[in-house]
């Protein structure tokens, strides 16, 4: 159901949510937008966080032998590209990893779809930024907030003005007018195993792993014992130890590992889960120190190779 809320209504909605959840939101800090605990709707800054909010579900580093009781958290200000990351990862992880699953079930993400596509971003290529799946979505149309809620959150909207789909449709249309929709569909069939792109990338990549760490859909982790704990830590498929075993290493070379990252996103996940493991947030491209641009993997003319 969709509702039209004023700024005052948003404050009321926030306080209703605050009764049930610990509230977090995007705030500006030393020039960056970060997630912090917030007490009121007015403290929230509209804008994309420096880092994807995947840490709310997958911590950088934690002891898997100790599953804590999860607090109920509400997180305001999530960009749609980052939110979509959760729905995409759910397909592989939800119900299997107890940490991710319990946090997912106890976290309410309130996403703020953008009105114009950000520079570099290509979320519209993956159905963004007004998504089909969300918990509570807060779109802005002039001074109005067009808030959509999935069923289980309807009770928070008592007394607010209901509305239809027209404004959402208008916002989507306006967004798409100036959006760079990439020809993603079918990339799993066009991409080439022996493409010269992989060696081109490996000749400059410094194996820093930033592309994985910044990505809202990269879920891989490592497990190792330290002191009394068994630590799960974010891992990167770009690093050479990722697949080394006593029997050898399937991806000894950097170009093979870079190819793996793109194949996982555009081929393997599509085959196994029916979706691309990318939401078009462009974070990997922005954070890459040597300017490797994932959009090229989509737009490259493989047929001429």
């Amino acid at each position: 159901m969709n509702y039209i809320l004023t700024d005052e209504d948003m404050k009321i909605l926030f306080s209703r949510i605050k009764e049930e959840y610990d509230t977090y939101g995007t705030v500006e800090k030393e020039g960056d937008i970060v997630y912090e605990k917030v007490d009121g709707f007015e403290s929230i800054t509209f804008g994309r966080s420096r880092y994807a909010p995947k840490e709310f579900l997958i911590e950088r580093n934690e002891n898997v032998l100790n599953l804590p009781v999860q607090q109920k958290k509400a997180v305001f200000g999530v960009m749609s590209c980052d939110l979509k990351g959760f729905y995409v990862m759910d397909k592989q992880i939800l119900g299997k990893d107890p940490f991710y699953t319990q946090r997912r079930q106890n976290t309410l993400f309130v996403n703020f779809p953008c009105n114009v596509e950000c520079e570099g971003g290509f979320c519209s290529s993956f159905g963004g930024p007004l998504l089909d799946e969300f918990q509570i979505q807060v779109a802005r149309d002039g001074d109005d907030f067009i808030v959509s809620a999935s069923k289980e959150y309807e009770h928070l909207f008592d007394g607010f003005r209901k509305t239809g789909d027209e404004q959402i449709r208008k916002l989507r249309k306006n967004f798409l007018k100036n959006a760079k929709q990439l020809p993603v569909e079918g990339i799993e069939n066009r991409i080439k195993w022996d493409s010269k792109l992989w060696k081109k990338y490996s000749s400059v990549c410094i194996s820093c792993g930033a592309c994985n760490y910044s990505c809202p859909t990269c879920y891989c982790f490592d497990l190792f014992d330290q002191d009394d704990g068994r630590i799960r830590e974010w891992d990167s498929c770009i690093l050479s130890g990722f697949t080394s075993t006593s029997a050898g290493n399937v991806r000894k070379e950097l170009d093979e590992r870079l190819r793996q990252r793109f194949y996982h996103k555009f081929v393997y996940y599509r085959k196994s889960q029916g979706e691309y493991l990318c939401t078009g947030c462009n974070r990997c491209t922005e954070d890459c120190p040597v300017d490797i641009d994932i959009k090229e993997v989509v737009t490259h003319d493989y047929s001429s190779e």
Partner: protein, 257 residues
């Protein structure tokens, strides 16, 4: 429930099989099936995926070669943790006759297979080709005698020694001479090159691609399909494998390292 938490054992038996290979016997019934694996661990040492070496509902056995951080320290551990079973198993119940081809430390899940087939009176439907680098690397002396009572067993070494009177040569050389009828299944487990060549030999010998099964080794951290380490193309070896039907994965360029 925290699926990462192992069940801990303070009481267990350690049996040395060769200079670098040992068996851990845990006083617990194995709910898993031949071909499946468990994550074995010890606090402070870490975890490793290890195939179960005994059959379904027998006491748990794991036979491990010491190769690195975890596997070299487990023999000295005071506590062994285990979680699982995980992954797919050998689909022996679907076939009349089965040829198992194992190289090196690939043999434990074949012992498990033997346990299960003998347990249902089908030991005679199994043929085993087992190869190791040298005579001193061959393990399971007692078990091999048990297999030979029921199954046709071929033992071979890559390189003999002055006392060795048995076969010399790679396991692949014996596949074409297999007594197993060609509508049967071939189960292959061992080092990547050995598996690759064994598949080629099995096809050459007349076995069908859909009846060939491989146990694939990949780096595994979680065992439950969430850490992303063990992928073989669009599959995860820990949940879609480790036992794969060859015809379902033969298109994957990273199949054999």
């Amino acid at each position: 429930m925290n699926s990462y938490l192992p069940e801990y054992f303070k009481e267990f038996e350690l049996i040395w099989e060769s200079r670098d290979t040992y068996t851990i016997h845990l006083p617990k019934e194995n709910p898993g099936k031949a071909g499946q694996f468990y994550m074995l661990s010890s606090p402070g040492i870490g975890e490793a995926p290890i195939s179960v070496a005994s059959g379904h509902l027998r006491e748990m056995l794991f036979t491990i070669r010491s190769v690195g951080t975890v596997t070299s320290k487990l023999p000295d551990a005071r506590v062994i943790g285990v979680r699982g079973p995980y992954g797919t198993s050998w689909p022996w119940e679907r076939y009349g006759k089965i040829l198992a081809v194992a190289g090196g430390i690939g043999i434990p899940p074949i012992n498990s297979l033997f346990d299960e087939m003998v347990g249902t009176g089908r030991g005679k439907d199994l043929e085993i080709i087992y190869g190791a680098r040298s005579p001193s690397d061959l393990i399971y002396h007692k078990q091999r005698k048990e297999w030979a009572k029921m199954a046709n067993v071929i033992i071979t070494v890559d390189k003999g020694d002055p006392n060795w009177k048995g076969n010399v040569g790679f396991v692949t050389q014996f596949i074409s001479k297999s007594e197993t009828d060609r509508d049967g299944a071939v189960f292959i487990i061992g080092p990547p090159l050995m598996m690759k060549n064994s598949v080629a030999e099995s096809l050459e010998a007349g076995f069908r691609p859909e009846n060939i099964y491989l146990s694939l080794e990949r780096r595994m951290e979680c065992g439950i399909g969430v850490c992303g380490h063990c992928n073989v193309g669009e599959f995860y070896a820990c949940e879609d494998g480790p036992i794969f039907q060859y015809s379902a994965v033969k298109h994957l360029p990273e199949l054999f390292l």
